[in-house]
């Protein structure tokens, strides 16, 4: 396949992102993810292809709008008894044509995910390069950017040629060869380690952590000269125990890793889960107290591991 034909599904390109790498950045959110984390903030990405979102809170049905009535040829969207439109997710999750989107003036019906060529992405990055300032660059995130291996590799090669600073936020869940090939072109990486107990990891994310931990170890051994920060979304009742922290500390020490970023649990994903007609786990139990976060931070610090909490990062 020539590079012109390469396509990546991207669900958002966000300018002025300030928490995912040094300086001001542009975040490229790739669609699709091999993991199914129950707290995911971007569940619209699971699919890995364009699909419908319905934002019930901005829908203007209550002020009388019926613009989307009878627009769907497959009957995916119905109004009943002057109530909020009902989305038949079984139909809509398979949709590829999205006839309903252009008729919505409220942006309540949105399509998430769009096909980009390498040129499309580079055009935006080249434009935003004007704006980042000296420290910034691009951060590839998602979803899981590694799913778009060929596409991402080509984009990264082009970034390298233009001397754009590159960062990645990844689950690290990919075949090792691919993982290492991509990381060669990355200056700054966040890799999630969600749980050191594999059983729990599978329970929370749907996959084993084995590949992830092996990839991290291999990366460190490869002589890679980028900066690696482990990330852990800290979820109450899932991975907020001291036991888990101790295991992670051991792993980090063994692999000569010394930076971790504990992310606070938030509910930003909740509405999106609902917009897609799914239920959100951890809505009640996910919070971790500040005391507990500080306790965990303290454990890392005692082992000479720099532990940032939330967005209090020095970049």
């Amino acid at each position: 396949m020539s590079t012109q034909e390469l396509k990546g599904i991207i669900f958002d390109i966000q300018a002025f992102s300030v928490h995912d790498g040094p300086g001001c950045r542009t975040n490229v959110f790739f669609a699709g993810c091999p993991l199914r984390c129950k707290w995911c903030a971007n569940p619209e990405n699971f699919a890995g292809r364009p699909h419908l979102l319905y934002a019930d809170k901005v829908c203007k049905w209550s002020s009388g709008c019926r613009a989307c009535t009878k627009i769907c040829p497959r009957g995916g969207l119905i109004f009943q008894d002057d109530q909020q439109p009902i989305i038949n997710w079984d139909v809509c999750n398979k949709c590829t044509t999205f006839e309903c989107r252009p008729v919505c003036a409220a942006s309540a019906l949105k399509v998430c995910g769009k096909e980009y060529t390498v040129d499309d992405v580079m055009k935006i990055l080249r434009r935003d390069f004007n704006h980042w300032g000296s420290e910034g660059g691009v951060t590839f995130t998602g979803g899981e950017p590694l799913l778009h291996y060929d596409f991402l590799l080509e984009v990264l090669k082009r970034c390298a040629a233009m001397q754009i600073h590159t960062a990645i936020e990844t689950s690290g869940y990919a075949p090792m060869e691919r993982f290492l090939n991509i990381l060669k072109y990355i200056n700054f990486a966040f890799i999630d380690v969600k749980n050191m107990d594999d059983k729990k990891h599978i329970e929370g994310t749907g996959v084993s952590h084995k590949i992830i931990l092996e990839n991290i170890a291999a990366l460190k051994k490869s002589g890679w000269d980028g900066r690696l920060i482990l990330r852990q979304p800290t979820i109450g009742g899932f991975n907020d125990s001291e036991e888990n922290a101790q295991k992670l500390i051991d792993f980090m020490k063994k692999n000569n890793l010394y930076e971790i970023n504990l992310l606070k649990f938030h509910r930003l994903g909740q509405t999106k889960w609902e917009q897609m007609g799914m239920k959100y786990a951890y809505a009640k139990t996910g919070d971790v107290s500040l005391e507990q976060l500080q306790k965990l931070q303290n454990m890392y610090l005692d082992n000479d591991i720099v532990c940032y909490v939330g967005d209090s990062t020095p970049f």
Binding site: I13, Q14, A15, F16, S17, V18, H19, G23, C24, T26, K60, S63, G64, C65, R66, A67, P102, V103, C104, A105, R127, D128, N130, H131, W132, G133, S134, E135, G136, Y258, E259, Q294, Q297, N298, L301, D304, I305, V306, C307, V309, D311, S312, T313, P314, F315
Partner: protein
């Protein structure tokens, strides 16, 4: 994370990671001095008060001198008014003087505009006799409007929905206005305007609010003051200059048969005015002495004595300390804002003007940085107290209650190096410690400015008061060179520019201040008002009139002559829009010229004409083009982006895709796309929609209009119209001449007129509904339409060269979390720099989350000190109107994490 902070720093160090200082360490901003807090508490409870003392004395002396040469008569009347103004000094004040004897005071100028008061005379007198309202009403009014008196209560009568006047003052107001019936600037110029060939058209435009505001309403302002002469010579020195002028020119025409003789009158008038200024200062000295004589608190007593010393000194001599110099600039400023109704009298680059005085005090150890910082905070209160009394429309609609006394920082020196002074760091720091709406701060951003200064300014912007705003110094210089080239402006003078009013680039010059044994070239204003031309034209409304053959459906009036053209192409529409706009400018310009010509002949500035170079050298007042540069009069537009988006929608839906006919589109517009209008619902929020029975008919076209290309997304399909528009406007405005005989140019700030002019505009092709506000500023995206982020807006905004126009305006809202910590400051500066690099002229930030604003809208009494940036200025949230509040809330907030 304070518990682990220390340990964290240790581990970071051990790991060799360059650690930024924590937020806690960085954000320690010293509190204001106790006196400032006390004065602010007083300020918050005070109401805007109209007072008749100054108009009384002005009137009395004016009529006593009936028949005198007008320039001299003006000086006598105004000098008498100032010398009789009752001094009022509050305990704890370190800097004194104010517009009237009231702290938040202003007064009417019946000699400028009297019809309002004369028409109301009977009604006002009736109100005087009406019984006082209940106390309960009073309380509710206080919470809602901050210092504004929006309704009458008790013994206070609301004037212009903003000011309160005590009942006993009403008969004085009525009496003072009476003699001006038929001969105020307003009425004289109206009589003359009736001779202009298309005066009826002008009346139509004004009645239908296609154009807002007459020029006489605020004839001065949108300019930069110049403090050089008083600082260098003192009032006694200026009197001497005038005496020499009288000696040399009285009775002497030289070779100028028209204006040569005026020089003698000018010097005499200026001498009288300087004597009045001196007297005014002396009165404060005496008052302070008197207060000191019976004050028992030793600290306050000492304070009064110091004030007496400062005022006695500056009543005659040039200043010898920083405090004297600062006090003197304040006296000049207050005198100027008292000689005409005005807004936007800018302080200019004060930190450069006063640097020599500051430097000497520090060298001589007569003062410390902390003492200077205290004074600068007292100064902020004094400037915040400046109110402008104009009609309700002007005060609320244009000004949103702020008088824009803008203070500029940075820029370049005469010889092209960074102009930043040590004093300017303190000015920024004072603005961080004492958060008041004025003076608002503007950074003249230049790549040559020191990084630590820019970081300091960014740190201040982050605090959420809306200042400093950021202006592009190179654009400003470029505009100066382009616009004032014909008057011989040099690159050196171009570097002396800064902001007059909120965003009006104004010409300046450098003057050689001899002080402390050396000469310092200090910048200051060198032209009359950089505004006051054709203002404000609601250009989306003009498009509406094009689409409806000149007829205004809202009012049922034929506003412009029917064009009867077939609008069968984009070209046909834009041609007709240009034809209409030309007609509007032509007609309005003539009337404005008459208004301002009558003003300059009957009401010429006497203080301003003393201060501004080169009046004292030429011996001519400002009306006779005494200043160095006079091509300052502009054309002002409103609603740029609403207009651009409307063209983009028409272009795409009607002509490119041919999805609808123009008739279908206009039918949808006239039916408000099937929604109830804001006129019916009284909700002016841009996203409020209530369907009518007709809604289903327009649902599709409405969605298509909403989803049509929008400016601010780096989408050429929309941005090409902006480029076209700017390219068209540059030569078009230059086809018309001001009363100074110079070409007009375009100013693109809406101030707050996007509220009222949006109000009179029906639904627009971009999907904006009838009566809702236009987009704010000229470069901000329409609310909620910027989908591609901040960098995309920057790209869209810079498709044309910003130095071709007087200004442009970009308002952004940032969530506080995006700029947290020292890295956040750096990132804020990164955004500013990104936009400046692309040639953007201006960017300002509201660093506040919408939640706070919504809460403050519900309970204004709990948010008395909350400030936001509106359209070129900072204002207390509770003192701005609801439509503008809604617009600010609805602006896209960047980085909502």
């Amino acid at each position: 994370m304070n518990v682990n902070e220390e340990k964290m720093q240790e581990v970071l160090k051990k790991r060799g990671i360059e650690a930024a200082m924590s937020e806690a360490e960085r954000s320690q901003i010293a509190p204001p001095p106790e006196g400032v807090n006390k004065l602010m508490d007083i300020y918050y409870v005070l109401k805007n008060t109209v007072d008749m003392e100054i108009p009384y004395w002005y009137n009395r002396v004016w009529w006593e001198n009936d028949g005198d040469i007008i320039n001299i008569r003006r000086a006598k009347a105004f000098a008498a008014a100032l010398s009789h103004a009752t001094p009022n000094i509050l305990p704890y004040e370190k800097l004194v003087m104010q517009k009237t004897k009231n702290v938040r005071g202003a007064f009417p100028f019946p000699w400028v505009t009297a019809s309002f008061f004369n028409a109301q005379a009977e009604a006002l007198m009736t109100e005087v006799d009406a019984p006082a309202e209940s106390e309960a009403d009073r309380v509710s009014i206080v919470g809602a409007g901050g210092g504004n008196v929006t309704e009458s209560y008790g013994n206070i009568i609301s004037i212009a929905k903003k000011f309160g006047m005590r009942k006993e003052d009403i008969p004085v107001l009525v009496k003072a206005s009476e003699p001006w019936d038929g001969c105020s600037v307003e009425e004289l110029s109206t009589k003359l305007a009736e001779y202009t060939p298309e005066y009826n058209l002008h009346k139509n435009l004004m009645d239908n609010v296609v154009c807002m505001f007459d020029s006489y309403a605020i004839p001065q302002g949108r300019e930069v003051i110049n403090y050089y002469y008083p600082l260098q010579y003192g009032w006694d020195g200026i009197i001497k200059i005038c005496e020499k002028g009288i000696h040399d020119t009285m009775g002497e025409a030289g070779t100028d048969g028209i204006l040569g003789m005026s020089r003698g009158y000018y010097y005499l008038a200026t001498k009288i005015m300087a004597e009045g200024m001196s007297k005014w200062c002396s009165n404060y000295a005496k008052k302070a002495e008197q207060l000191a004589s019976f004050e028992t608190d030793p600290e306050i007593k000492k304070n009064y004595e110091e004030i007496a010393g400062v005022m006695a000194h500056i009543a005659h001599k040039p200043p010898e300390t920083f405090r004297q110099a600062l006090q003197l600039t304040l006296a000049c400023h207050l005198a100027v804002v008292n000689e005409d109704p005005q807004s936007g009298q800018s302080i200019g680059r004060l930190g450069q003007v006063l640097q020599p005085f500051y430097e000497k005090d520090i060298e001589d150890k007569v003062s410390t940085d902390e003492e200077v910082l205290d004074l600068l905070q007292y100064y902020r209160i004094k400037i915040t107290e400046i109110e402008c009394f104009a009609s309700a429309g002007v005060t609320g609609g244009v000004l949103s209650g702020n008088t824009f006394n803008n203070l500029s920082l940075g820029g370049l020196t005469k010889d092209g190096l960074s102009a930043v002074t040590p004093l300017e760091y303190l000015i920024v720091e004072a603005g961080m410690r004492t958060k008041t709406t004025q003076p608002t701060l503007s950074v003249l951003y230049d790549e040559k400015l020191p990084e630590d200064f820019l970081m300091k300014c960014a740190n201040c912007t982050k605090l959420g008061m809306g200042y400093p705003a950021w202006m592009n110094n190179q654009d400003g210089i470029g505009f100066m060179m382009m616009n004032y080239r014909s008057e011989g402006m040099t690159l050196e003078d171009a570097r002396a520019w800064c902001l007059g009013g909120c965003l009006e680039s104004a010409p300046g010059c450098f003057m050689p201040l001899t002080y402390n044994g050396k000469v310092t070239w200090i910048p200051g204003g060198a032209g009359p008002t950089s505004g006051t031309g054709v203002h404000f034209i609601g250009i989306p409304k003009v498009l509406e009139l094009v689409l409806n053959n000149g007829f205004d459906k809202r009012t049922g009036k034929q506003v412009l002559p029917a064009h009867n053209k077939k609008l069968d192409s984009m070209q046909a529409i834009t041609d007709q829009w240009q034809a209409y706009l030309r007609k509007i400018i032509e007609v309005v310009n003539k009337v404005n010229n008459l208004q301002m010509d009558v003003w300059r002949k009957h009401n010429m500035p006497v203080v301003q004409s003393m201060l501004k170079p080169d009046c004292l050298v030429k011996g001519q007042h400002l009306g006779n083009m005494g200043t160095r540069y006079n091509a300052t009069i502009n054309y002002e537009s409103c609603g740029t982006v609403t207009f651009i988006n409307s063209l983009a929608a028409i272009g795409k839906l009607v002509f490119d895709e041919k999805k609808y006919t123009l008739d279908q589109l206009t039918d949808a517009m006239w039916h408000n796309f099937g929604f109830e209008t804001a006129y019916d619902t009284q909700v002016f929020s841009p996203d409020f929609r209530k369907a009518t029975a007709e809604a289903p008919k327009y649902e599709r076209i409405f969605a298509d209009c909403i989803n049509a290309p929008k400016y601010g997304n780096a989408d050429w399909e929309a941005d090409k119209y902006l480029k076209w528009y700017e390219d068209v406007m540059f030569p078009m405005t230059r086809e018309y001449h001001s009363y100074y005989g110079k070409e007009l140019y375009m100013c693109q700030i809406s101030v707050s007129t996007h509220g009222p002019q949006g109000f009179i505009t029906l639904a627009t092709p971009d999907g904006r509904l009838a009566g809702t506000t236009y987009s704010d500023g000229s470069m901000s995206a329409a609310a909620g339409t910027d989908k591609n982020g901040i960098y995309a807006i920057f790209e869209s905004a810079t498709v044309y060269d910003h130095s071709t126009q007087q200004n442009s305006q970009m308002n952004l809202k940032l969530h506080p979390s995006a700029v947290k910590g020292i890295q956040g400051t750096r990132k804020l500066l990164d955004i500013v720099r990104a936009y400046m690099r692309k040639g953007g002229f201006h960017v300002q930030f509201n660093v506040v989350d919408s939640k706070t604003l919504r809460a403050a809208q519900k309970k204004p009494e709990n948010y008395r000190d909350l400030m936001v940036r509106v359209a070129g200025f900072t204002q207390y949230w509770c003192e701005i109107g609801k439509p503008i509040q809604d617009e600010v809330i609805y602006r896209t907030e960047y980085e909502t994490v």
